[in-house]
């Protein structure tokens, strides 16, 4: 167990280093930060001086070494654009993105799992076909179109929900949360649905497929032959056994959630890391982009570690050794 976790940790560090390297090589090509940092009237000589000051003329390897060394010491540098410490900028944006991602994930699970179970148990019903078709259309519309549509329907036409931002937030320690006010939840709803639709469909289809598979397994047929109550059969026996692949996919899809959270945050002006990242691209804010990538890699690695631990929690075969 300990060995297993240590092994995963070593792999995680490797993944993060590789992402840092890729992130860093990205810097060189996105554009020229200097022209974005200075006004139109700044002379070429002044620009060149600034470039030298920021070490942008140094060899690539030297820059990468400096970036990694600073990062390992906990120094994430300063933003070219706002001159603020990057660590602080990212840190203040993390809660927004995490809350959005987690709520979207919850929506996708809370709707996707029951829908998946339902469509698996009644594969030929009309509601099942309707659900399948709706979700299929749902994943076939680009996320940004869904977001804008939701804004115009619920924000502008009906006026029920806010169109942008996080609404009311509450500061808890270093965490700015929108989960404790009604306004916050109202603001969270549309972006979370937008982000969750894709995951929802994915979860539903996966649960459905796995459930249908499990329902044919010997132990379900045996439980059926023993007259175990149907509800217990479906939820305790069958659903629990579908969870391992579902959890795997959730772990793997984390990258997708992050990618689409960039889109969602941009559409809803949601002040999370993705929005910050998009702004940083526009201004070629290299330190912010680099740290963002590394932070994303960190979360990815973390989520996958949690997934591994969840396996152990769910499946006793990984937990208990043979007693014989």
């Amino acid at each position: 167990m300990v060995y297993f976790i240590l092994k995963r940790l070593v792999q995680s560090v490797f993944v993060m280093l590789a992402v840092a390297f890729l992130a860093f090589s990205l810097f060189r090509f996105v554009g020229d930060p200097i022209t974005q940092m200075t006004g139109v009237e700044t002379s070429v000589a002044d620009q060149e001086r600034l470039r030298e000051e920021l070490g942008l003329n140094d060899p690539f390897i030297l820059q990468f070494g400096r970036f990694t060394a600073d990062m390992l010491q906990g120094d994430f540098g300063f933003s070219y654009r706002t001159r603020q410490p990057v660590a602080e900028m990212i840190a203040t944006r993390i809660p927004a993105t995490l809350e959005l991602g987690v709520v979207a994930l919850l929506i996708s699970l809370l709707v996707g799992i029951p829908a998946g179970v339902y469509t698996a148990l009644r594969p030929r019903g009309i509601p099942t076909q309707a659900i399948l078709l709706t979700t299929l259309v749902g994943v076939s519309i680009p996320t940004f179109v869904i977001g804008i549509m939701l804004i115009f329907i619920f924000g502008v036409q009906l006026g029920w929900l806010p169109t942008f931002g996080r609404g009311g937030t509450v500061q808890i320690g270093g965490w700015e949360s929108s989960l404790f006010t009604i306004e916050g939840w109202r603001a969270l709803l549309l972006p979370a649905i937008t982000l969750g639709v894709y995951q929802l469909t994915l979860t539903m289809r996966l649960v459905r497929a796995e459930m249908m598979e499990v329902m044919r397994s010997d132990y379900i047929r045996f439980a059926m032959a023993r007259g175990v109550p149907m509800r217990r059969l479906h939820y305790k026996h069958a659903l629990a056994n579908t969870m391992v692949p579902v959890i795997t996919i959730i772990g793997l899809q984390f990258g997708g959630v992050i990618a689409f959270s960039i889109v969602t945050e941009s559409v809803f002006q949601w002040p999370g890391m993705g929005l910050l990242f998009l702004e940083s691209i526009r201004f070629v804010d290299i330190p912010v982009m680099g740290v963002y990538l590394v932070v994303i890699a960190f979360f990815f690695v973390l989520v996958n570690l949690i997934v591994d631990l969840l396996y152990v929690a769910i499946d006793p075969r990984l937990r208990v050794r043979d007693v014989q």
């Binding site: 010997d218 059926m224 032959a225 175990v228 305790k236 208990v320």
Partner: protein
């Protein structure tokens, strides 16, 4: 008690209804063990599923009567049927590995079953569960009940399955191949348990199996089915001892006896017909026999696998699959290798074929040392000289290749026949030699039955002009009548070409029929090795004696009068 009358089950399909069973009649009395025997496709499992109401969709009962005591099983609502399941009818499945929910403890599964059918407190249910496990032969049940299924061995798991089936005191248990996945010793214990339960608790058993030996051993009455119809039914001694129906007789003929060797099995379609001789493939094979007969000698083969790593600091315990195995396959003879699952039989075959590398030991093919696994080059002659017939004819042929490609591959690969048309001709002739139509060459493997595929697999092995053939459980996936055909084929081919064969099987009776010498393998060690007659008639190792004693056999009087060897 259980009465089945004129039962028909149909599966609607896009090409009309497919009738799985038709006009089945059967009664089972309390305390009776009723054997339901037949080969694959006979519809025996469908009968069981129809009785318990778990026909797989979209199957349905087309007509007939089904009643348990006074209850008409056909008129029940789905809810009522579900209540009866477990309460009055229960079921035991074939594979104890898969029939328990891996995520729940034995306790949870037992108690949910007990509480589903009777209104008892948790504590009472628990007590009943523990008592039941003790009764069924699980020691220290109060503690072991907290365990998960994977913490039990196969035999123990099947006991748990039985406990689950009987914990609600059902009147009828449908046991669908309950011992097929078990080793001989465990099978014997489970059969004893079933017998005891039938006697003590007066539970009626419908024992579905393909193994006539098992039926002979414990069934009171037997029903023989074929293609969805009942062929014959009656007292076991009467049906098996004096079969009236030709099918039953043929079935009995195909069962290999354990206590003596017969020359050939009597196979209905093949009566009086020997192997095809004088065709091109035979000539080609005989041409290739410039080499002398080749034997195989293994000396002190050990095979250790790295165990799973459990700790960062301790080295993982190695898992020993083969331990100092030494044996000799005499040139031109058949060595039978018997052992239960996990004894290392297949590991040994893989080591010989070079798929894995033994940890130590020497292998010699004829007089030449066989390089170990990775050291054996792709062009090493042994790659051609040693060929193998695998257990599962469904997976040993590439389902995306035509038979033509499968059969001509060795001819092309080993460079025997440069001309493509020649290769194809030879492959067709070889098909004929193994008893198939030459036009099979244009088809895909899925268009053939298991027995036909195994013939193709044999043809493929022969087309490599082997000197040494490994047959790894070549018939264990086949029905007994097909098994007889394949065994006949192998015997004929061996006689014709003087092949040296290593014949691996868990089935003692089959080995008895095939092998000149027999080696008994257990936990990676050779327990006993010697001529087949001496091993079977005068076993020296306790283990061998035990195995022989526990293998279900047909009483002497029922045995077929097939050509004695």
């Amino acid at each position: 008690m259980l009465t089945i009358k004129d039962l028909s089950v149909k599966f609607p399909s896009r090409f009309g209804d497919f009738t799985a069973i038709e006009d089945v009649d059967m009664t089972i009395k309390p305390g009776e063990i009723h054997g339901l025997v037949g080969e694959s496709g006979a519809g025996k499992s469908t009968v069981g599923a129809a009785v318990i109401g778990l026909l797989s969709s979209p199957g349905y009962i087309a007509n007939g009567e089904l009643s348990l005591g006074n209850t008409n099983l056909r008129t029940l609502t789905p809810d009522q049927a579900h209540d009866i399941r477990g309460d009055r009818i229960s079921m035991i499945f074939q594979d104890p590995q898969t029939s328990l929910n891996p995520l729940m403890t034995i306790e949870d599964q037992l108690i949910e079953t007990i509480q589903a059918h009777s209104d008892v407190s948790y504590a009472d249910a628990l007590k009943r569960a523990v008592d039941l496990l003790e009764e069924i032969g699980i020691k220290d049940a109060a503690r072991r009940i907290k365990a998960y299924p994977h913490q039990f061995s196969g035999g123990m798991r099947q006991r748990v399955v039985i406990a689950l089936a009987i914990c609600t005191d059902p009147e009828l248990i449908i046991a669908d191949e309950p011992t097929t996945a078990l080793d001989v010793a465990v099978q014997s214990q489970v059969l004893d348990l079933i017998r005891r339960l039938a006697k003590d608790r007066q539970i009626a058993f419908m024992l579905i199996t393909h193994d006539i030996g098992v039926i002979a051993q414990i069934a009171d009455r037997v029903t023989v089915m074929r293609k969805g119809r009942v062929m014959e039914t009656g007292e076991t001694a009467q049906v098996l001892g004096a079969p009236e129906h030709p099918y039953t007789r043929a079935l009995m003929d195909a069962v290999p006896p354990l206590d003596h060797r017969i020359k050939r099995f009597r196979v209905p379609d093949e009566d009086g017909k020997g192997p095809v001789t004088g065709n091109a493939a035979e000539k080609w094979l005989l041409e290739g026999q410039q080499h002398a007969l080749t034997g195989l000698t293994l000396t002190d083969i050990c095979m250790r696998f790295r165990g799973p790593r459990t700790s960062l600091w301790r080295k993982p315990e190695p898992f020993v699959a083969l331990n100092d195995v030494s044996l000799e396959v005499r040139p031109g003879s058949i060595l039978g290798l018997v052992g239960e699952s996990g004894s290392g039989k297949s590991t040994l075959a893989k080591a010989i074929t070079g798929l894995i590398t033994p940890s130590s030991g020497i292998m010699k093919l004829g007089d030449d040392i066989l390089p170990d696994g990775k050291a054996r080059g792709r062009k090493h002659p042994s790659r051609q000289l040693i060929q193998m017939v695998f257990q599962d004819p469904y997976s040993s042929l590439n389902s995306r290749h035509r038979i033509r490609d499968i059969l001509t591959e060795p001819l092309w690969f080993y460079g025997f026949v440069p001309d493509a048309r020649e290769r194809e001709k030879l492959a067709a002739a070889m098909l004929e030699l193994v008893g198939m139509q030459p036009d099979a060459i244009d088809k895909y493997p899925h268009q053939f039955s298991g027995g036909q595929r195994q013939r193709i697999a044999v043809a493929r092995a022969l087309l490599a002009r082997p000197r040494f053939l490994i047959c790894d459980e070549p018939t264990s996936a086949l029905d007994v009548s097909i098994q007889a055909e394949i065994l006949n084929l192998l015997k004929d081919l061996q006689a014709m070409f003087g092949l040296t064969i290593l014949f691996i099987s868990h089935n003692l009776a089959v080995v008895r029929q095939m092998a000149d010498d027999t080696a008994v393998l257990r936990n990676g060690r050779i327990e006993e090795i010697g001529s087949t007659d001496s091993v079977f008639e005068r076993p020296s190792a306790d283990y061998t004696q035990n195995l022989l004693a526990l293998t279900p056999v047909l009483p002497k009087a029922w045995q077929s009068t097939a050509v004695a060897g």
